[in-house]
């Protein structure tokens, strides 16, 4: 669906993205993740044919975005960062205009607009002026615009930016639903966002693609280990001694003591769950246990690892 090769963009001497290469297959929901200023919006603006690239090439549904730009754009529903809208139009009027602009005619345009409003939960405000809508509703209008002509591909630039937690949850639900019918490329600087909605993550930092994989693989590949915490009624040296012997344990450390109780943090290999073995150990030794918690490594750990290692590389090369 998207094929990007060595895309480079320089703004007046400053390189925003540098030899960016990636693919997005039909039906995928891909998260485009990176901190602010990483080059996400720049990449998406080039893909949607708003900006040119300094070098490199890209294809949308087989159409070159530079030589066959109108045809490429016919396949894209795009929601830019900050969702620009004509505030002096009514919701239905705006979506109808956008539908006709994208090639739907007469009744098809009306139906398309109605369906998009239904999907995004806008039916109740269809005759309101866009100027009078809240940020959350404007975001939905932007989303409805992106999908009004049922394009194959949705490109959404930070769709949950500036929303409150409730609205964020609603928009995420919506995006997940849309994944059934569209290929989606969604940019964000919020990690938890891609972890719950996306099948694959492309991480970009300082204009370089740093990784592209499923969230689970990223976590595993980066070796961000899982952690298990126990609180047990025995002496620290006794419990540590037992844990060192246990298979799957990478390290165990004494965090603190609360009276007779000892809190120990156990680092495990990724995707290993020691809780049952720990429970059995405690029963065997007759040590009372009052806490047993496992925390899986999150994409956040992977992301911090990635962006940090890149910064270190940079620091070294200077």
């Amino acid at each position: 669906m998207i094929h990007v090769e060595n895309l480079t963009k320089r703004y007046a001497g400053k390189t925003a993205i540098d030899r960016v290469t990636f693919d997005v297959g039909r039906g995928e929901i891909v998260g485009f993740l990176g901190p602010n200023g990483a080059g996400k919006s720049t990449t998406l603006k080039i893909l949607t044919c708003y900006l040119s690239a300094t070098a490199g090439s890209a294809k949308i549904a087989g159409h070159d975005i530079f030589t066959d730009s109108v045809r490429a754009r016919q396949h894209i529903g795009y929601m830019p960062e900050n969702v620009p809208l004509y505030t002096d139009m009514r919701v239905a009027e705006y979506l109808n205009f956008r539908a006709r602009l994208k090639g739907l005619r007469g009744r098809d345009a009306t139906l398309g607009a109605e369906e998009a409003m239904e999907t995004t939960g806008l039916s109740g405000v269809s005759s309101k002026m866009i100027a009078s809508l809240s940020k959350g509703y404007r975001q939905r209008v932007g989303l409805a615009d992106a999908l009004v002509n049922k394009p194959d591909l949705l490109i959404l630039d930070e769709p949950t930016n500036g929303l409150d937690p409730n609205q964020i949850r609603q928009v995420r639900e919506l995006i997940k639903q849309l994944g059934d019918r569209h290929t989606i490329l969604i940019s964000t600087h919020i990690l938890s966002e891609v972890e719950v909605t996306c099948g694959r993550v492309i991480i970009i930092n300082h204009g370089h693609i740093k990784a592209s994989d499923t969230p689970q693989n990223l976590i595993r590949r980066l070796g961000a280990a899982g952690k298990t915490v126990i609180e047990v009624k025995t002496a620290p040296n006794l419990v540590l001694e037992e844990l060192e012997k246990m298979p799957g344990v990478e390290s165990a450390s004494h965090v603190m003591s609360r009276g007779d109780w000892t809190v120990v943090e156990i680092a495990t290999e990724p995707n290993i769950d020691l809780r049952e073995a720990l429970h059995e150990l405690m029963i065997d030794r007759k040590w009372p246990l009052r806490e047993l918690t496992r925390r899986t490594a999150s994409l956040e750990d992977a992301f911090v690892g990635l962006t940090k290692s890149l910064d270190e590389e940079r620091a070294e090369s200077h």
Binding site: T54, A55, R73, Q74, Y86, R98, R100
Partner: protein
Amino acid sequence: MRVFYVIFSKELRSFFSSPLAYVVIGLFGLLNAWLFVSIVTVMSMSVTPRSLVYNLFDSGWFWMGFCFLFPVLTMRLFAEEQKMGTLETLLTAPVRTIQVVMAKYFATVTVYLAALVPVFLLFLLFRGVTGQAEAFHGGALFGAAVGLILIGMANIALGVLCSAMTSNQIIAAMVCFAVIMLHYFLGFFQYFGGMPGSLMTAGLGYVSNVDHMRSFSEGLIDSRPFIYYLSFTALLLAMTHHVLEFRRWRV
């Protein structure tokens, strides 16, 4: 053509859904009604070799109002879209930039024509009420209409270009107004010291809006002003297209 029509009708609607179009048409109509009455009064008191049409469109007051018309009508077109960011949604839809430029341009031309209608109604009304056929003849009125449309088309193209070059409407309006005023005064330089019949004088005469308007108001329809204004319009619209496409150039 479909895309053109979709944007054209949206632009027309947004002109007429804000007070701007009504205020512009209303003020321009009032100014001309006042001028019209004044000129009729003067003409009824003294003998003048010129027709009513000629006198109205040769008046400095008319040109004042006329020059204000264009920056006000055009300043919004692209500057506002750039400021609001909607240019991005507009140009990432499957449309050609030239379709966008033409649609906005012709929507403005349409509003401009609507502003001219009341002025020409004054003449028809005058003739109907007074039955004074001698005040002007139909050819002069037709010529004046052609002249105003040609000059207006070029000036609107200029305003469209100014609006595309900035995201600030006020700057777009000021630049447009400055260029129109410069153009207006340029036409008078031929009377200052230039040798009559010299190339310089002829050149200045050729670019002079006022000179062309005088011939049109006498009912003389020549091909040269057509070529002048239409090629100017085409050049300015092509420049607008390039300004908007510049982002897509590989540099």
